[in-house]
């Protein structure tokens, strides 16, 4: 797994996209197929930035298989919060009655093939597998 650490700010997103796309290009995979992976990483990363309570940079690890990308995010010094158990969004609720929040993790659940959470040594570890599709 290739791992890099990023400052915990949404300003890191552009660098993160470059990291993911460069990782794929180096393995002969079209970065345009990374749309789902980009979304999963952004939603989980920004969630950690806003709510994780961690103290340090956030580590993102990538591991490619044919047509599939495994993504691991580590939030060091964070509180324990199992994001896989977040409250679901009722997508049938009329817009006027929808409350903000929760949509990002809903999208991750919808897109991910696997979505796992572990908490060890005061570190939240979120692992997701996504398809690489055109």
């Amino acid at each position: 797994m290739v791992v890099r650490r990023f400052p915990r700010t949404v300003g890191s997103l552009e660098t993160i996209v470059s990291f993911v796309h460069d990782f794929l290009a180096e393995r002969g995979i079209d970065p345009n197929h990374a749309h789902d992976a980009d979304l999963v990483i952004e939603e989980l990363f920004t969630n950690m930035v806003k709510y994780g309570g961690g103290e340090a940079e956030i580590a993102i690890g990538l591991d490619a298989e044919p047509a599939r990308l495994t993504i691991e995010l580590r939030d060091f010094g964070s509180a324990e919060w199992d994001v896989t158990q977040s409250k679901p969004v009722d997508i049938d609720t009329p817009l006027e009655q929808r409350r903000p929040g929760g949509l990002g993790l809903h999208l991750v659940r919808r897109i991910a093939e696997n979505f796992r959470y572990a908490y060890r040594d005061r570190t939240s570890i979120v692992t997701v597998t996504t398809r690489l599709t055109p």
Partner: protein
Amino acid sequence: MFDIKIVTAGNVKLVGRLDAAQAEKAQKIFRGFNHPLTADFSELDYISSAGISVLIETYKRLTAAGHAFRLTNMKPRVRNIFAYAGLDRLLQIE
């Protein structure tokens, strides 16, 4: 990179990637529109929940004022995100 180009009065084109880092910029621009609006998505490559939240806010505000807010020409991968969020049935997507 993200930008909103004014095509004509009431018609705009979204360009690039509307992610959490660009949502505040998008929100400021959309809050300046107080008339019926059509947004062309043909050059938008990516949108996340942060971008969708800006569009929901705009839709609520404009429709409450009696104005239409139409979203057109989405790429399939962008439209899929709206479908996953259940918004393809709630927003005016053409």
